[in-house]
Amino acid sequence: MNEMAKPPVPGIGITAKYPEIGTGPCDTAIYHEPEIYEKEMAAIFRRSWYMIGRVEQIPKSGDFFTYYLPTFRLEVLVCRDRHGEVNAFHNVCTHRGNVVEHRREGHSSGLFVCRFHGWSFDLEGNLAKIRDEEGFFGVDKACNGLKPIPMGIWEGFIWVCPEDEPYQSLEDFLGDQGRDTAGYPWGACSQFYQTEAEVNCNWKLVNDSPAEVYHIPVLHPKSAAPTMMASGNVMGRLLDTRVRGNHRTNSHYSVLGEPKPVQKLAYFHAAAAQNVVQEQLDYEMPVGINPTRSPFWTVDLIMFFPTIAFTLSAGMYTAHQVWPLGPNKSIYQQRVFVRPARTAAERFGQENTMVEFRDIVMEDFSTLERIQRALDSGQIKQFHYHDHEMALRHQHHVVTRILADYDREQAAA
């Protein structure tokens, strides 16, 4: 990969580019107080969009997947209809509320049949058939189809909004961050591993975890740090943090360190999934990825506030997604997206990538429940953010601003 001279270690000065964000210590109340969480639910979460899958998961008419949105306790059914369109519905049977489709994914011959009393719905959501219809007292089939959930597609990702009338369009929600990262070959990484875990911490801590690399030399001494150390970046600094509205991107820099033995097998003998050399890109890098155009760029963390971030390199990416469940409880979902393997050797490269990411995230997550205990017990009332922890300071700033705006909006109403 990057075998050129060691880059100059980045300096201090990221925070100074965004004076409105400030430099002081930050109050930790937004990380644990139940009333604040309740307000976040109304002011932030119900007004946001949520990525639940990709169009490649349902290539043919009749293909479907279901998804549970734990934050909102909503069941969703996504399918491709007879015209090739992607539809998303609340996965709720209009007879008495069972899920219409209970399987996680599959192919429907054209009807979803509820496994309770057998009402059936077509791929467009119409109520097609009521079993033993003559026993009912005039149910109007035309008014009892599946209820659509607001859905939009960005770069092949399928997003839904929990509100019947979204506060903002998906396009506005994604904003400049969406425009500036469109065009990356998101769909080329069509293979993915997905894992999840319940973590007893506030949703912001999950976002914070990959959002600074100040910790890498200390928390990841054997795994991620050697590459960073090889670049002379012993303090763990970023190339840059770029703010775009509520969203933000961290650009990471390094040069390739000496790989470990199994990494060598993966990188040099198995076309490991992440090793697309920048000089040989088969696409044009969008302006929002490696925004500083550094030759020492390796990875961006592209955050779409409030709940999804992509760790993205030239050849693959990982989606980190958090589903808030309460002031100190969240579900973390990780998807590792890689390019398809043709040969069996390339399959080994994919596995190496997944295992490395998983174990490094387990290193990261060791801190989350410990921090939350310190928050819940009132033992840490302020966070002090380093210049290169600016993404966390920005998140604090955005949440605080939205909640204040919401208070004003409620007072005016």
């Binding site: 591993y193 875990a197 199994v262 003998h269 043709r342 399959r347 080994f348 174990d359 995230v361 997550f365």
Partner: protein, 117 residues
């Protein structure tokens, strides 16, 4: 897995097939967590020495067309990827001071052997 054979030239690794060929990533993780480090290191050492040869064989075979002995060889290599951090990073089955990996659920996996293109 009842067939313990590997492609020609890999007979030295056949002794690992019964225990170390696992059906998917979730089982590979469980195998790593439930095996003592001496056994993990013995497997790792033997596989690493044959890693380049194994990958040369696997490079010549497309996913979706593997004979049963080829699937075994691939799955041994996937297991090598799983145990590598235990040997190279932690000297322990577990992530050092890590979040308990048992709490992670696999929701979607990439097939070990099916064609992807």
């Amino acid at each position: 897995m009842t067939d313990h054979s590997l492609p020609e030239g890999f007979a030295d690794l056949e002794r690992f097939v019964p225990e170390w060929v696992q059906p998917d990533a979730e089982h590979r993780l469980a195998k790593r967590l439930s095996t003592d480090m001496d056994a993990i290191k013995a497997f790792y050492g033997a596989m690493l020495a044959r890693g380049e040869a194994a990958l040369a064989w696997l490079r010549g075979h497309e996913l979706g067309t593997l004979p049963p002995e080829g699937e075994n060889l691939l799955r041994l290599m996937l297991m090598l990827a799983e145990v590598a951090p235990a040997v190279e990073w932690y000297n322990d089955q577990r992530v050092y001071d890590g979040f308990p990996v048992e709490r992670l659920r696999y929701i979607h996996q990439i097939s070990d052997t099916a064609a992807q293109v």
